[in-house]
Amino acid sequence: MLNKMMVAGSALFIVACGPIDEASDVHHDGLVYCSEGNPESFNPQLGTSGTTVDATSAQLYDRLLDYDAKLQQFVPALARGWQAFDKGTRYRFDLRENVQFHTTDWFTPSRSFNAKDVIFSFERWLDKKHPYHDVNGGRYPFFRSSGLINLIERVERVDDYTVDFHLKRSDSSFLANLATDFAVILSEQYATQLLHQKTPEQIDRFPVGTGPFEFELFRKDFIIRYHAHEDYWREQPEIKRLVYVITPNANKRMLKLLTGECDVIPYPLINELSKLDHDAEIKVGSSVSPNISFWAFNTQQPPFDNVLVRQALAHAINRPAIIQTIYNGNARLATGMLPETSWAYSPVQQTYPYDPAKARALLEQAGYPNGFSMSIWAMPVQRAYNPNAHRMAELMQSDLAQVGVQVNIVSYEWNTFRQRLVAGEHDSVLIGWVADNADPDNFFRPILSCAAARSGNNRALWCNPEFDQLLVDAIAESDLDQRKHLYQFVEDMVMQHAPLVPIANSLRFQAHRADIEGVELPPYGGINFRYARRVNDVPL
């Protein structure tokens, strides 16, 4: 050993600075993604963390159906097709044949994908008595918060390639939830094998799926290694070796992208972005995230119970200036609750244009000609939808002073902050929401319904039965055009009553080397390397 060390030591200084030519072949069909953290597990059903989703969903697994953001419609995946029966309370899925699961060191499948796998994947979290329900935590936060766990009554196998989902009521967000990154299909045969070996917890650590990449190795804090799945049922990925290098430090990620040690990085530093964009070697991609930042008024308290006051305040703030200052222009001015990427979105003129004169007139009309004083609560943490709430509150403070409203800015530690919000101690608050799925309902019901007001998630504490009824009608409607129409009413109602002022939909960023193509950020869900490829053979 010492001898080898000596050889290595002396060789060190001879070859250290030489160019590496032999290396280019491993780089040709390999890709390095410098991810921002460790995945919590290798099964997205168990969590809601974006890092886990990025590392697993699109790479290791497939879903019954996918959502095509460009066409804005659902497309077949493991299900070739589907039909709704019984007024939308029963969905029949026609499954694809000859779909192979991964063959790994720890599992060799003897059959291809069929109805058993679908039933296992759903019953694991639906059925509390399922042998796998409590394995690795037994919490399925996405299915719980989306209500899917209460919506699906049972999943029934009709034959090997047909399954029926029985729902408790009709719900048009059902397909959207099935198309999310969380509703992945696991292998029932692998699960049974692990149960026999008495090591069921391995199912989420040594994953087996049908996805384009197979799991090879995970070293916490350092590396995740995948290779292409040779029997993938769709087009083979061009990248044969995919490596995630875990790099939590954003500066280091940026530098490693510049030196070519990373091919793709998520969350590049926002203030360095402009610099990167000019660099010929680096390309920056962005997509509008399904998130919204808003300013909610406590409608239970005077003077905010007066709709005129709320409208006046909405006119008093200069939102385009906020977008420039807080987001460096990396966000879209929100015209309503729904972001541009939602299928239910309709383009509208700018709502509540910046108009201090009109704001003053409205205040006078409401009986506050000399203004009043109020508090704005600014959340103490950074979020994708609002990188600096405190600074935003300061900008609004000076805008509001113009119309005679005196503002003091309030902030607490994050947990205390949320507890006090639930207690309704605030006048107004700067906060936001990140949607879990493509369904427009996800932008209204959790934020503005009466139920949300009771649970404290409705930061405006605004409860309007008429509005709730409109939401129920919209979700029960299965015709897309009709639904879209209904959501316009919903948006209009939010606009008129102004329980909150939508501010921005922020953009999500990712940067990659110029020779990498096909790594696009989907607006919903995690990163996908299935279409990634290296254009020219450029040695690092």
Binding site: M5, D25, V26, H27, D221, V243, V245, T259, L540
Partner: protein, 342 residues
Amino acid sequence: MFRYSLRRMVLLLVTLWLLTLLIFALNYWYPGDPLTNMTGIKFSDTLAYQQALVARGFDGSLLSQYFSFMAHLLQGDWGASMVTEQPVFAEIKPLLGATLELGLLAMLLAIVLGIPLGVYAAIQQRGKLDRLIMGLSLSAYSIPVFWLAQLFILLFAVKLGWSPISGQIDPLYAIDINTGSILIDIWLSDSDYRIAAFTDALNHLWVPVIVLSIMPLTMLIRIMRNAVLDVLQQNFIKAARARGLSDSTIMFRHTLPNAMQPVVRQLGLQFSVLMTNIIITEVIFNWPGLGSWLVKSIYERDFPVIQGGLLVLASIILLVNVMVDLVHAWRYPHIRKEIDAK
């Protein structure tokens, strides 16, 4: 020599025993359940928890808990990480390999460069080169490792592009982890791109090795210089000169062997400094070694891992110090006499 060695070994064992006492006590001082801190088994995992309760003697007195703690420790059952749920002991081997690779190469570099430079400075005493070497070593000694590492990364990796920023090897080379030392692992692997991978690994290695070696290197230069100057003033050197021995004979036969004595004594101390710096260096260079593992575990409050990391690092430092002492005493018998006389 035998008595001296025995005394050192007993001292080592006593220190190690005190270390286990400290680590055992830490389980109770950390927040949370001592049994969970020790084994990584959570209370919610009822069956395993009950089994561990019995196996670890938690149904008995504190003394029986300590005895069972020692028994498990010696059997290599160091509990499982609370984050990854992997056994701590099994995780240590590759990490230790990576740390030792970095540390030994840095120490080797410091010795190979430090000793000749120190001797050279002594011969050239008060000459221009002496002043240059001493000036450089003093300023390099004053630079903290974390800053030097960042500086080298900016210069060599980002500006000049001579080396990658961090890591052991380009991750696209799939080298099986065996010993943890990347050079040895490549040597052992049977992949087709061994040569390319080896070159790439060396390319990743040289910046952290230089960063790490700076501190012991500058110390060795200074110690060596002073030691040589001391010896050169001794009467036996004057006598040798008077007898007409050549300069090189005086240097290699008489001066150097005597001057090495304080240097050897310092090596153990320098190794301890190196192990402290290696923790910082590993974090900055994403080196998969014990140091970065320990730091991560502290962030994550992963108590079984903290214990394992502490135990291994402390034991290595202790062992190396005792080894150096033994070599020193074996090589320079008069030191033994001095110690025995006391």
